[in-house]
C-alpha cells in the first residue's frame, strides 16, 4: 500500500495524483493526516482502493467513479455526493447531506448520518448503521436508503421512485411519503444491501417507505401545504 501524507503534501497535489492515474489502475493507497481537510479524493475515476486514516471534512470522495474509498474516522457534509459508481465507507459518523444526488455506487456509514442523508439521490444505494437526521431522502428519485437505526422527522419528503427501509423508529414522514407493506422483493433487496456491509440484521425487522405518488401530477387536491 502506498502512502500519501497530507502533512507533507496538499489536497490539490493529492487529488491531482489520483486524477493522473490510469482509469484501470487497481492499486491501494492510504492518505495520512487528513486532519479534517475538505475535498479529499474527489473526482476519482479508477478502481483503486483509498484509505483515509482519520477524520475528514466536507465532500470527501465527491463524484466518485469506480474507486473504493474508506474513511477511518468521521466525515463532514456531503460525503460521496453525486457518486456515480464504486464504494465509499465511513467507519465513523457522517454529517449532513451524506450521499446527496448520487447516481450509483454504494455508500456505507457505520455510525449515524445527520440530516438530509440521501437527499436528491438518483440511483445510489446508502446503508446507515445508526440513525439518520431529519429530511433524509428529500426528493430522492431512485435508489435505496437502508437505515438500521431510527429516522428523524420529514423522512422521504417529496419522494419519487427511491425506496427507504427503516429498522428503527420513524419519527415522522414527509409530504407524500408513506409506509408500505414489505414484499418478498423488499426482503431480498434488504438482504442484498446488508450482505454488502458488516451489519447483521434480519430483513424482517425493516419497514418500507415509498412515495404515495400524489404529487406526481400537479393538482389543487394534493397536499401541497403539508408542514412538518
Amino acid at each position: 500500500m502506498e502512502s500519501l501524507d497530507l502533512a507533507a503534501q496538499s489536497v490539490r497535489e493529492t487529488n491531482q495524483f489520483f486524477h493522473d492515474l490510469s482509469s484501470s489502475d487497481t492499486r491501494e493507497f492510504e492518505i495520512l493526516h487528513p486532519n479534517g481537510a475538505h475535498n479529499i479524493a474527489v473526482g476519482l475515476d479508477a478502481p483503486v482502493k483509498v484509505h483515509i486514516r482519520g477524520h475528514a471534512g466536507y465532500f470527501i470522495a465527491g463524484m466518485n467513479k469506480q474507486a473504493e474509498v474508506t474513511i477511518h474516522g468521521n466525515v463532514g457534509w456531503s460525503v460521496a455526493e453525486n457518486m456515480m459508481s464504486g464504494v465509499v465507507r465511513v467507519n465513523g459518523f457522517a454529517s449532513e447531506c451524506a450521499g446527496s444526488s448520487g447516481h450509483g455506487g454504494l455508500l456505507i456509514i457505520n455510525g449515524d448520518a445527520s440530516s438530509r442523508c440521501g437527499i436528491s439521490m438518483k440511483g445510489t444505494s446508502i446503508v446507515v448503521g445508526g440513525n439518520v437526521g431529519h429530511m433524509s431522502a428529500f426528493m430522492a428519485q431512485a435508489g435505496y436508503l437502508l437505515i438500521c437505526g431510527d429516522a428523524d422527522h420529514g423522512l422521504g419528503d417529496s419522494l419519487y421512485e427511491a425506496v427507504i427501509y427503516v429498522r428503527g423508529k420513524i419519527h415522522g414522514l414527509g409530504a407524500d411519503a408513506r409506509e408500505e407493506q414489505m414484499e418478498e422483493s423488499d426482503y431480498t433487496k434488504v438482504n442484498e444491501l446488508l450482505e454488502m456491509t458488516e451489519f447483521n440484521y434480519d430483513p424482517k425487522e425493516f419497514k418500507r417507505v415509498a412515495s404515495a405518488k400524489t404529487l406526481y401530477h400537479w393538482s389543487p387536491n394534493s397536499k401541497q401545504f403539508a408542514v412538518l
Partner: protein, 448 residues
C-alpha cells in the same frame, strides 16, 4: 348615482384582477406560465447615451475598429473564457427547449464566438458538439449532472437563483417529460417534475466556498466558476458569491424568463435589471473586486442598446435568454417550412392566446416548435434555419452595440462608462443613480 359613476372601473378591482379572482375561485389553483415579467418596469429604455459632439470625439460608424473581445473568469481559472463578443446565451434546459433549439443555439453561439449554457437536465451530446464554448450549470436539482460532463465543460455556473423566480425552483410539466428527458433526469416519464429550490449538498456561503473548491479540484483548477443569482438582495449576494470564490457573478434581473413557474413569482419577486446592475457593480467596488471578478448581467436584455447600457453601467458581458427564443420564432404567427411561411395562429388560439402574447412554454405545445418536446412540433424549428436566424440577431445586437460605443468615442465596447448615460425618468435615475436628463440631479444623492 349618476351614469358616469356606474361605469367607473375600480382601480383596485379592475377587470384583470376580477378575472384572476374568478379563475382562482373556480379552479383553486394559481397560474403557471413561461417567459418573464409583463408588468411595466423601469428598463434600459429609460436611459439614453450622451454621444460625442464637441466635448468628445466620435469614431466613424461601422468602419473604424471597435473591439468586442471579452475575457471571463480571470480570477482563479487556468483557462479563462475568451469570447469574441460580450453577449452570451443564458442557461435554458433541454426539456424546456427541444434538442433542435439547443443545437441551433450552439451553432449560432459558435459562429459568433460566444458561449452557450446548459440548463436543468444536464448536457446533451448535440449541444456539446455544436457549442465551441459551453458553460455547464450546477443546479439544485442536479438532474443529469455527472463528473464526465463536468470535465467536458469550458466553464461551470452554479445557479443559486434565477431572475424570474428567485427563491423558487423550476417546473417541467408532464407533457415535456418525454422518454429522453425522463431518462436524463432519472424520473418517470410524463410526471410533473419539480426542480428543487435549494442545493442538496450545501446551504450557505461558507458551504458554497467548499463546494466551489470541490468543483475546482475535480476540474483541476482549469475552468472558471460562475455563480448566478436572481436579483433580490443584490449587494449582499454579490459579495457573498465573491467571498465564496466565484470567478464570475451572473446577476439575473426580474425581467428574466423561465420555462414555467408561478405567475405570482414572475411578477412579484425580485428587482428589475436596471437597479440590479448598479448594485452589483457597487458591491464589487466596495470589496475591491471590480474588474477582478467579472459581472454578467441578464434579465430582459433585448437590443444592442440594452447591451451597451449594461456595459456602460459596469457589466463585463450580458446574457440573453428570451430574446434568443424570439429570434428562433417564439411568438411569431408562423413557422418556416422550406420557402413557405405556415400560419399557426389557430394553434395559438387553441392555447387561448394569440401571436405576440403567448407565454405558454409550460404546456409544451409551442406552435412554432421552440419550447416543446413533441416531435411534430419540434421539427418546425430546424437547427440550420434557427442557427442562421440567431446568428443574424446576435450580429445585429453586436453591431448596434459597437455603433453606440463608437458614437461615444470608444474603440472598445468595454470602455463605455456611466458618464455616457443619463436617465429619462426619475425612477430610472434613482435606480441607476444617473442624472435625470437635462439636470445634474441624481435622486437620493446628496449634493456636496
Amino acid at each position: 348615482m349618476n351614469s358616469n359613476q356606474s361605469r367607473e372601473e375600480s382601480f383596485s378591482y379592475n377587470q384583470k384582477i376580477l378575472n384572476y379572482i374568478y379563475q382562482a375561485a373556480e379552479t383553486g389553483v394559481y397560474d403557471i406560465r413561461g417567459l418573464g415579467a409583463k408588468r411595466h418596469l423601469p428598463t434600459f429604455d429609460d436611459l439614453v447615451f450622451l454621444t460625442a459632439s464637441m466635448s468628445r470625439y466620435p469614431l466613424e460608424g461601422y468602419r473604424e475598429k471597435c473591439e468586442t473581445k471579452t475575457v471571463l473568469g480571470t480570477r482563479h481559472a487556468k483557462k479563462p473564457i475568451e469570447l469574441d463578443i460580450p453577449i452570451t446565451i443564458a442557461g435554458m434546459s433541454f426539456g424546456a427547449l427541444s434538442a433542435n433549439v439547443k443545437e441551433a443555439i450552439g451553432r449560432a453561439a459558435t459562429e459568433m464566438g460566444t458561449s452557450t449554457t446548459t440548463g436543468d437536465g444536464g448536457m446533451t451530446q448535440e449541444e456539446r458538439q455544436s457549442s465551441k464554448i459551453l458553460v455547464y450549470q450546477v443546479l439544485p436539482s442536479r438532474y443529469g449532472f455527472n463528473p464526465d460532463d463536468l470535465r467536458k465543460a469550458d466553464a461551470i455556473e452554479i445557479v443559486v437563483g434565477q431572475g424570474a423566480k428567485p427563491g423558487g425552483g423550476g417546473m417541467l410539466l408532464g407533457l415535456k417529460v418525454g422518454e429522453r428527458v425522463a431518462e436524463m433526469r432519472t424520473l418517470p416519464e410524463g410526471i410533473d417534475q419539480r426542480s428543487a429550490c435549494r442545493h442538496p449538498d450545501w446551504t450557505g456561503p461558507d458551504d458554497l466556498a467548499i463546494k466551489i473548491l470541490e468543483l475546482r479540484e475535480i476540474t483541476d483548477w482549469e475552468i472558471p466558476i460562475y455563480v448566478k443569482i436572481g436579483a433580490t438582495r443584490v449587494k449582499d449576494d454579490v459579495k457573498l458569491a465573491v467571498k465564496s470564490g466565484a470567478d464570475v457573478v451572473v446577476v439575473d434581473g426580474m425581467q428574466g424568463g423561465t420555462a414555467a413557474t408561478q405567475e405570482t413569482f414572475i411578477e412579484h419577486a425580485g428587482i428589475p435589471t436596471l437597479p440590479a446592475v448598479r448594485l452589483a457593480v457597487e458591491a464589487l467596488q466596495e470589496i475591491d473586486m471590480f474588474g477582478k471578478v467579472q459581472l454578467i448581467l441578464s434579465g430582459g436584455i433585448r437590443t444592442g442598446a440594452d447591451a451597451a447600457k449594461a456595459l456602460a453601467l459596469g457589466a463585463d458581458a450580458v446574457s440573453l435568454g428570451q430574446a434568443v427564443l424570439m429570434a428562433l420564432g417564439c411568438n411569431s404567427p408562423h413557422y418556416v417550412d422550406g420557402d413557405e411561411n405556415v400560419d399557426v395562429t389557430s394553434e395559438y388560439q387553441a392555447l387561448e392566446t394569440t401571436p405576440g402574447y403567448c407565454h405558454h412554454c409550460h404546456t409544451g405545445r409551442c406552435p412554432v416548435g421552440v419550447t416543446t418536446q413533441l416531435p411534430d412540433l419540434e421539427k418546425r424549428m430546424q437547427p440550420e434555419w434557427g442557427a442562421r436566424r440567431l446568428t443574424n440577431y446576435l450580429r445585429t445586437v453586436t453591431m448596434e452595440m459597437t455603433t453606440l460605443a463608437r458614437a461615444c468615442g470608444n474603440s472598445n465596447v468595454h470602455h463605455l462608462e456611466r458618464e455616457d448615460l443619463v436617465a429619462l425618468t426619475v425612477e430610472a435615475a434613482a435606480m441607476a443613480k444617473l442624472p435625470l436628463a437635462g439636470t445634474d440631479w441624481i435622486p437620493g444623492e446628496k449634493k456636496l
